[in-house]
Symmetry: C2
Subunit: 178 residues, 2 copies
């Protein structure tokens, strides 16, 4: 149990995982927390595929993110959450004036980060991945051509407890108080 | 101090606020937590204007969200966080193949929800608003035409402690475990 401010400081991109397998109950608890995330008109434009038990699929997801040599780190990740964008059903008065998916990317960003914080709370490390071999991933997961794979979260027990310093813009650079 | 899972359950869209003013230190703490949110290539494509002290500006923001009669609720919100999308500087190898802003909406979604969770941790209620009168808001905040106002978060002490039941899709509807 941790204060949210501590959780935000601890949560970092984890690219090296221990051999310890992740308990199924934890995966369920994590997705169940993300499920409660807010979204425009409560549209909940998300689905998630949790790849963990089928080692063949886990390996295929890992290989699909090893793109351009960038994401070679994830070969030992025991879990991947594959987040899909779904149709967002907005309230009628709003759907009349904006595209149904206008807020979906932001809502999925919140869903995905809630998932990461929940994982962190349970002692797991995570890394959000935005680049991957889409045709390969679609095939590995048996998804149709129209599936909108948005983000992947690699997860597992981190191989180190070390919390790195976060390089961020200063408060003054990003915030104005009026 | 609360377990993250409790925080997620408690956090809900607040549309009615008490008269209690929000301490400046809390606003700083909230933005400082959101500042640590993750983003693609650590691009941090965000800025935030915190409208709280200048009552004229707060009123103008409230009026700019009272659009189509949808957001009439926010007349008594003491604080508005106005979240702007900024240029996302990606790593060169990635910037060569995708648009710089491809992950910015999702990153802003995570930034915004981190801000909401941080506010909740400090006893404040929040509501994310996606529809607003952009020209009016730009004018009220003295922003240039090219400013990309993405989301607004209304915040303040809620007028009730009551936690509503969250209507959400079931775990089975949104998740597949493989």
């Amino acid at each position: 149990m941790s204060d949210f401010f501590e959780l935000v400081k601890k949560r970092q991109s984890t690219r090296s995982f221990s051999d310890k397998p992740v308990e199924r109950e934890k995966l369920v608890e994590i997705v169940d927390a993300a499920r409660l995330s807010p979204s425009a008109c409560n549209s909940q434009p998300w689905k998630v595929i949790v790849a963990a038990e089928d080692k063949k699929i886990v390996t295929e997801v890992a290989e699909s993110v090893a793109l351009l040599g960038i994401n070679k780190y994830f070969a030992n990740a025991p879990v991947f959450f594959v987040v899909l964008e779904e149709h967002a059903k907005l309230n009628r008065s709003i759907a009349q004036i904006v595209d149904s998916q206008i807020w979906a990317p932001g809502d999925l960003g919140g869903f995905t980060l809630t998932l990461c914080y929940a994982a962190e709370e349970l002692g797991l490390g995570t890394c959000v991945i935005g680049l991957f071999d889409r045709p390969r991933l679609r095939e590995a997961l048996g998804l149709p051509l129209h599936a909108k794979i948005k983000l992947i979260v690699a997860a597992g027990y981190p191989s180190t407890e070390n919390v790195r310093h976060k390089e961020r813009k200063t408060l003054e650079e990003i915030a104005t108080f009026v």
